[in-house]
Amino acid sequence: MTKRFQLLQGNEACVEGALAAGMKFYAGYPITPSTEIAERSAIRLPQVGGKFIQMEDEIAGIAAALGASVAGLKSMTATSGPGFSLKQENIGYASIAEIPIVIVDVQRSGPSTGLPTSPSQGDYMQAKWGTHGDHPVIAIAPSSVQECYNETVRAFNLAEEFRVPVIFLMDEIIGHLREGCELIPSEELEIIDRGDHNISGMTYAVGEGNYVPEFAAFGEGEHYNITGLFHDDGGFPTNDNHKAYSQGRRLLDKITMNQDAIEKWEETDIEDAEVVIVCYGGTARAASGALEKAKEIEGFPKVGMFRPVTVWPFPEKEMMKISEKCKHIIMAEHNDGQMLMEVQRAVKGNVPVSFVGKIDGTTITPDDILAAIREVYEDAK
C-alpha cells in the first residue's frame, strides 16, 4: 500500500502523478537532471503491469512512447535540454498524427550541453516552437512538488482529451526539490481515458462543433492509417490544399477554441497591486519570497504575483486584464527573456514591463526581485 503522504523530489512526484493518471508505458534515455523520472518509472511500472524501456537514444525514446500510445497505453517520456532538442521532430509527428503523449522536459542551462546540473527556463520558446511548422502544443510548468503530482495528472488528461503532445515543462529547481507530497489516489481524481469509438473508416473525421476525432487503439479491429503527411479524414496522405488547410486549421483550432479550459494560472495579492511579478516554475519560489519581504519594507508599492501554470497557450486575456489595473509588470524567469516576449505582446504597451533574468546557472533570489521592484519604485518617484 502506497503511503498517502511522502517526502518526494519533483521528479519522483511527476512519476507518481503519471501513474495515478494511468501511465502504463515509459520509454526514454538517461539525461541529467531528469534521470530520476526514468529510474522511478523503471521500478514502478512493472509493479502496476506497465512497461518501461530504456531506448538507445532520445529520438527512440519518444518514438517508442508514441508507438505504445498507438497500441493503447498512456505513455510518457522525459528528458532535458539536449534531449528535448532531439525529440522535436517526433513532437511534430505527435501533433499532426494526433497521438496523445506527455513529454517531460526538466530544463537545464543551455545551449548545447551547457550547465547540465544548473537550473534554467531556456526551453520556454522551444516548448512551443521547437518542432517545425504550425502545430498545437500544450505546456505546463509546475512550481512545487505537489504540483508535479497534480499537474502531471492534468497533463495526461489534456493529452487524451485533445490528442496532443503535452509538454510538462519542469526545471532543475523543481525537479530536484524535496517537499511533502500527497499522493492522491486515482479514485479521488478526475481521470480522462480514451472513450468508446466509432471511427468506421473515417478515422480523422469530426462532428459539427467538435475538434477532436475519436481514437481507436491498434489491435481493436479498425484497420486505419496513421501518417505524418497531411491526410484526409480517412487518414490517407493528400496533396489537396483544401484538405491540408482543413486539417491544419482544425489542429490549431482544437487548442484555441478550447483555450479557456486549458488555461490555468495562480494570482497572489493581485487585486490592488501596483507592481505585478509574472513568473512560472521554479522562479515562482523566489517571487513568493520577494512578495513576503516586500510587505515588510516601508514605502514599498503593493506587489502581486501572476503565475501561469499552463504556459502554452499563454493566458493573454488574463495578462491584458492585469495590465489594465496595475502600474508596472516585472517578468522574472531563468533565461534572457522568453515569456517576456509573450507578456509584452499580451499587454500591448499598457504598462512598462521590466525584466529579471539569469543565464549563468545561478538561481534568481528574492533579493534579485526586490531589487527590480526597488528600481521601479525609485524611477516612479
Binding site: G67, V70, S75, Y93, G221, E222, N225, I226, L229
Partner: protein, 273 residues
Amino acid sequence: MPSKLIENTMRVNRLPHIWCPGCGHGILMRDVAQAIDNIGLDPDKVVIVSGIGCSSRAAGYMNYNTLHTTHGRAIAFATGVKLANPELTVIVITGDGDATAIGGNHLIHACRRNIDLTVVVFNNNIYGMTGGQYSPTTPHMEKGTTAPYGNIDYNFDIPKLAESAGATYTARGTAYHAQQMTKLIENGIRHHGFSLIEGLSVCPTYYGRKNKKGSTIDMYNWQKDNCIDVKKAANMSAEELEGKIIIGEMSVADKPEYTDMYMKIIEKCGGNK
C-alpha cells in the same frame, strides 16, 4: 480486377501505388502480404510500421493497422507497439537509407534486444524519393547524384550487420525471386525473436539510369543471373562467387525474446495481478 490476394490484403481504393514503372517495391510489398496470408494471421492483429522513403509508402496500401512514421524511426515506434501489446504481429517495412543510415542505431539495438519484430528492408541501393543520392548500400564506386565521380563509401551487408548485432533470424531475397522472398518473410514472421529480411529491389529510374544498368528487364535478369542461393554457394569457390550476391536464409538462432522476458519481470513484481 485485382486478385483475391490483393483484395484480401490491400486497400484497393488506394491503388495504383506511387512507385515508378519497373520498381521492385510492388513485388516486395505483395510478398509481405502473401506471407501474412499464407500464415493466416488475423488482420486485426497485424501492424505494419514504416519510416520515410519509397519503401515506406507501402504501409498506406496495406489493409492492416498501419503506422507511417518519421524518417529512420520505424523500428523505434515498432518497439513501442510490440512491447505495449505483445499479442500484435509487428512488421516493419523500411528502406536501405531509412534502416541503415538515419535509422541505423535503432536497427542494431532492436537486433540486440531480440524483440519479436519482423523487419523487411526494401533495398533499392539508392535514395529514390529524393532523386537518386547514394545510400549506405550503394555499391563501392557506383554513382548517385551526390556521388557524381563514384561512391567511395563501402556498402553495408545488411543481414550480416543484423546478425552480428544480435538478430536471431536473417535472410536476403530479391524482387525477382518472389516465391523465395515470400517464404523468407513467412519464416521471419513465424520466428519468435528479431527477424531481418533484406529484399533486393530494382530501381530503374534512378539507380539503373545513373549506373547504366540497362532496361528494367535487364535489371531483373541481372538479379536472376547473379544471385546464388546460400546452399548452392556453400559448395562454390571464392573465385566462382566473385561479384555474386548470396540469397536465402543467412542465420537462425534461438534466444529468449524481449517482451517474454519483460512479462516475467511484471510477474515477478506482482504487476500481473
